[in-house]
């Protein structure tokens, strides 16, 4: 479903030279697969995630989704593409502080002009166990609850692929486990692929496959 072909990312650093963050990567992500991306700090995990999700563009190479190259799309077309096919869970939750939990979950559906957005948002909030917190603002929720809202927001639009960047990085172990279980359950229910960037070996183990990066290259 998602094919990475010959992908490199190079950052220029002033006059001093170039820094190759990702170097000649080639791999595929299958439908409904959980792919864990691991590696030490600075190995290029987050950069790879951003490029796969169309948030950034590679210096060389291609990202193909169902044989369509993302690099052929302009910024707004990529935005449309993301809205229809991808979703995200961030380490720092990234909920809109001026919106309630319900409104935050509705957000992707609103972008897609879905008329039943509220009903669907309510249903998924109930699914993640936060029906009673639907009208609360993010600053009225705990870290674990905020991340569960973020998970609900990610799945509400039934994405083909969900990208998660250190989803449990800001949570205690109990809340982290709860969020991971939720991700696993929802992934199997919705049939989405899940690409998770993580440092945590326990999280990585939950995946169907693991991609290990070191200095921008796949080592395993």
């Amino acid at each position: 479903m998602l094919e990475i072909k010959n992908l490199s990312k190079v950052f220029t650093q002033g006059d001093s030279g170039r820094l190759t963050v990702l170097d000649q990567l080639n791999f595929q992500v299958k439908p409904a697969q959980w792919l864990s991306v691991t590696g030490p700090s600075g190995s290029g995990k987050s950069t790879l995630l951003a490029i796969m999700a169309g948030l950034d563009i590679p210096t060389i190479g291609e990202v193909l989704f169902n044989n369509q190259a993302l690099s052929g799309l302009n910024e707004d077309e990529r935005a449309d593409f993301r809205a229809k096919n991808f979703s995200f869970v961030f380490q720092s939750f990234r909920l809109m502080p001026t919106m309630t939990a319900l409104e935050n979950v509705q957000l992707p559906l609103e972008l897609l002009n879905q008329e039943d957005s509220q009903e669907r948002a309510k249903a998924i909030l109930e699914r993640v166990g936060l029906a009673d917190r639907a009208l609360h603002f993010p600053n009225e929720l705990s870290g674990g609850e905020q991340q569960r809202v973020a998970v609900a927001r990610a799945f509400v639009s039934r994405p083909k692929i969900l990208f998660a960047d250190e989803p449990t990085g800001n949570l205690d172990s109990k809340s982290g486990s709860k969020v991971l279980q939720l991700l696993k359950d929802l992934q199997s229910e919705e049939g989405s692929s899940l690409i998770v960037v993580t440092h945590d070996p326990q999280v990585a183990e939950l995946g169907d496959a693991t991609l290990k990066l070191k200095d921008g290259k796949i080592v395993d």
């Binding site: 707004d76 935005a79 380490q91």
Partner: protein, 836 residues
């Protein structure tokens, strides 16, 4: 206390906080300099008025009367030991003249003699003395006539007599008075006054004796009153005469200062926001420093060093900016009002201002640091900082009170006025906050009817009201101040713009006698004649007011209430109410019957000032004859109708024999006005023909110049508002960046994000503008109704519409421009920058 680590931090922080510090120092220095300049400007005018008060009177004291002096006044002055060379007779009046090109004009006329002026200098070209004008009928005229092309030797007709132009006035002692002159100023010798025929019965001349004396004013007055107890003869010292001018200047200065204060206060909020947002951007570094062992005190001290350095720079900059502004003030006064102001020596107020600037900078930089240092150090190890520390109420109060007190020290020591003003600002701010919040909430209720972008904007607007309110209040206040000044000026100009008021007369004839009326009517078919007579109040409800009148000379004349009792009034007689009047008490203008008293109708504000009501009795001196009078009705009068209006109207049946003369008034088309004025002046040279239109124009020009001065401060207020706006945008930048990043990653296109940003600022500024416009309409209509007593002339609807839409659009554009980098970047870049 200041250790090596603190100094290290101070050095490292200097370059990164450069921009906000420049903004902070620059605007506070400029603002305080503007205030001190205003204060010094006012001081210079006061000094001009005070130092030149003798020049204003041109003598040590002045004896005045609204009717020609009896011979005994001059004899008594001589008997008191004054030399004839120390006494000058002066008569001032507005009259009509025929210029050398045979056109008529209204002029400020002065007949003088002898050693005029005793103080100040009368410079003419060629240089002449007043006594030189006695050789033949000649005049000295102001240089505006030279600018019109008139030459020495040409003839000017004043009343019945032709005068030769002998010299042009280059400088005269009463320079400040020239600001209010309604026509060219012309002086001639007293001995020709009677021959002009312009100061007979019914004229509106002011008669003076100017006296040069070494005697103390009180002693002189006592001796003078022994021989001349008549109430209509009044004595005035130079100090007294300058009091009223000073009062006007002080009020104007206070108003200007308080407008500037408002602007400066708003500016301080903006600067505080800018610096605070900068500190929050630096927060992760400061937290890291605290993690690795720097103490809060070390970080605080490093910032305080920075604040002290900025304060010192601010003081210096304030001094330089103020000195520059001060040097421009005199030129501006000369250009705008043709007034030469007195020089004042180097004032300690500049050092004072520099110290105030420095203190304000220090306070504005101290409190944000205190706030930011409240963030717990544990936040350093969390990737998202959820902690939002707040200054305690006590700290917020201390900060604003500190800045306000410092500014108030500069503005004025008039605590009463300052308290009222600040109270008004606080009330208006509260109302703006309430109305703004209600407006936003109302919009939010209908959010489902709006687009996705608009809904995001409305959520942000309503749910972060604590941040939005500063914007709404400051923009609303700025608009309120600006529009109020503009609308007040507009209402006043509309009121006095005779060309737009087709029913208002624009040509007046003073001192018309019974036998002249028919002939004048032949020239002016629509002329209306109003009978007039002079009178004074003698007693009210049986209570003699002589005592009050005698106190007049001891300074009570500056008390408006007392002056109301002792001044001379012009009365009219008739039997019906006239256009522009309305009965406010009483069924008819006068009760029927044939009483033994004179029946009168009083204007309602006059009746309350002299405390007379329907049925009350009082006594008047009508052209020398004491008469008993009774109040039969009260009238509301439109004083801005430009018709002859009166405080007291007599029943014509009761004063048949009194020696009335007439004021003629007519509405003449603008094209006919100069010709008719000339024909009337030639046909009736002994009458004063006043062109109301040109006087209205003069007043309007003066108003425009005053409005300009006030508006300049209004623009300062707009500049302060922009600072608030930028400060707020910067403060919210991080939050907005995060919002943009999230929306982008969720798949929102750029237009959606731009729209949501634009909607947010449009909603916010639209609410602020709308409330500001609405409140300015209310404030101005109240001021017009109760203070100026003129009808409120609302500005054209389109102009309010333009303000209401242009400003929100402009502010939204600025917001989008500020966010343009984030909009152009890839979502990954935005995510990175919002995380860093």
């Amino acid at each position: 206390m200041i250790d090596r680590a603190t100094l290290f931090l101070y050095k490292k922080n200097r370059p990164v906080t450069l921009l906000p510090r420049i903004l902070l120092i620059g605007s506070i220095a400029l603002g305080i300099s503007a205030l001190v300049t205003l204060k010094n400007f006012s001081k210079r005018i006061e000094k001009t008025v005070l130092q030149d008060s003798k020049k204003l009177l041109t003598a040590d004291l002045r004896i005045s009367s609204r009717r020609p002096f009896e011979e005994k006044v001059y004899s008594h002055l001589l008997k008191m030991g004054n030399q004839s060379s120390d006494i000058v007779r002066q008569t001032d009046f507005i009259g009509s003249i025929i210029l050398p090109d045979s056109t008529g004009s209204t002029a400020m006329l002065r007949a003088v003699e002898g050693n005029y002026p005793f103080y100040g200098e009368l410079k003419t070209s060629p240089q002449l003395k007043i006594e030189d004008l006695s050789q033949e009928a000649s005049v000295i005229v102001d240089k505006s006539l030279r600018a019109k092309g008139f030459k020495l030797g040409e003839k000017i007709r004043i009343g019945l007599l032709d005068f030769k132009i002998s010299a042009f006035i280059e400088e005269e002692p009463q320079a400040l008075a020239t600001v209010f002159a309604v026509g060219p100023r012309i002086a001639f010798h007293q001995k020709y006054l009677e021959s002009t025929g312009l100061t007979g019965v019914g004229s509106r001349a002011f008669h003076y004796y100017l006296v040069r004396t070494a005697k103390d004013f009180a002693v002189f007055r006592e001796e003078f009153r022994k021989g001349i107890p008549e109430p209509h003869v009044r004595i005035r010292s130079p100090e007294r005469s300058s009091n009223q001018s000073q009062r006007i200047i002080q009020n104007l200065n206070s108003f200007l200062s308080l407008v500037a204060l408002c602007a400066l206060f708003l500016g301080a909020i903006g600067i505080f926001s800018v610096y605070r947002s900068q500190l929050y951007q630096r927060l992760p570094y400061d937290l890291t420093l605290r993690c690795i062992g720097f103490s809060k005190k070390q970080i605080l001290r490093s910032y305080l060093l920075l604040a002290a350095e900025s304060a010192a720079l601010g003081g210096l900059l304030g001094y330089c900016a103020g000195a520059f502004l001060e040097s421009k003030v005199a030129d501006l006064a000369q250009k705008m009002f043709e007034v030469t102001l007195s020089e004042i020596p180097f004032s300690s107020s500049w050092l004072f201002a520099s110290a105030i600037t420095a203190s304000s900078v220090f306070i504005s930089m101290y409190f944000p640091v205190i706030e930011v240092l409240k963030v717990p150090v544990t936040e350093a190890i969390r990737s998202s900082q959820n902690s939002t520390p707040k200054l305690s109420r006590k700290e917020v109060f201390s900060m604003f009170a500190g800045i306000l007190l410092l500014i108030l020290f500069v503005v004025s020591f008039d605590w009463k006025m300052a308290t009222v003003f600040l109270g008004a600002i606080a009330s208006i701010a509260l109302i703006l906050n309430y109305l703004g919040q209600q407006g936003a909430s109302t919009l939010h209720k209908f959010k489902d009817k709006f687009s996705f972008s608009a809904r995001i904007a409305l959520n942000s607007l309503v749910r972060s009201w604590s941040k939005t309110r500063y914007f709404v209040i400051s923009v609303g206040l700025s608009i309120l101040v600006l529009l109020s000044v503009l609308m007040l000026g507009y209402s006043l100009r509309t009121q006095i713009d005779l060309s737009q008021r087709i029913e208002a007369p624009n040509l007046f004839l003073l001192g018309v006698q019974e036998q002249q009326r028919e002939k004048i009517s032949e020239l002016l078919s629509n002329v209306e004649f109003t009978p007039v007579i002079q009178a004074r109040l003698l007693s009210l409800k049986g209570e003699d007011i002589i005592e009050d009148r005698l106190e007049d000379d001891q300074g009570v004349e500056d008390d408006d209430e007392k002056r109301f009792l002792t001044r001379e009034y012009t009365l009219t007689k008739r039997s019906r109410i006239q256009k522009g009047e309305k009965l406010s008490k009483g069924d008819t203008l006068f009760a029927k019957g044939n009483p033994n008293v004179v029946r009168v109708s009083l204007e309602e504000s006059f009746s309350s000032r002299v405390n007379l009501n329907i049925g009350d009795a009082f006594k008047i001196n009508l052209a020398g004859v004491p008469l008993e009078a009774r109040v039969d009705s009260l009238r509301k009068v439109d004083w801005w109708s430009f018709r002859p209006n009166f405080f007291i109207v007599l029943n014509e049946e009761d004063v048949g024999g009194a020696p009335f003369n007439f004021v003629g008034s007519a509405r003449v088309s603008q094209s006919e006005l100069p010709t008719l004025q000339t024909r009337l002046q030639k046909g009736f040279p002994e009458l004063s023909v006043i062109d109301g239109e040109s006087i209205a124009l003069k007043v309007s020009t003066l108003l425009d110049r005053l409005s300009f001065a006030i508006l300049s401060l209004g623009l300062f207020s707009i500049a302060a508002c922009v600072l608030v706006f930028v400060g707020m945008l910067l403060a919210r930048q991080r939050e907005k960046l995060s919002q943009i990043a999230l929306l982008k990653s969720l798949g929102a296109r750029s237009p959606v994000i731009i729209k949501s940003l634009a909607y947010e600022y449009i909603f916010m500024s639209f609410i602020a503008t709308l409330v500001g416009v609405a409140m300015s309409l209310i404030v101005v209509s109240l001021v017009c109704l109760f203070a100026l007593k003129i009808p409120f002339a609302p500005p054209p609807f389109w102009s309010l519409l333009v303000v209401s839409f242009a400003l929100p659009t402009l502010l939204s554009l600025i917001a989008i421009l500020l966010a343009r980098n984030s909009l152009r970047s890839t979502p990954a870049d935005v995510l990175r920058s919002s995380d860093s």
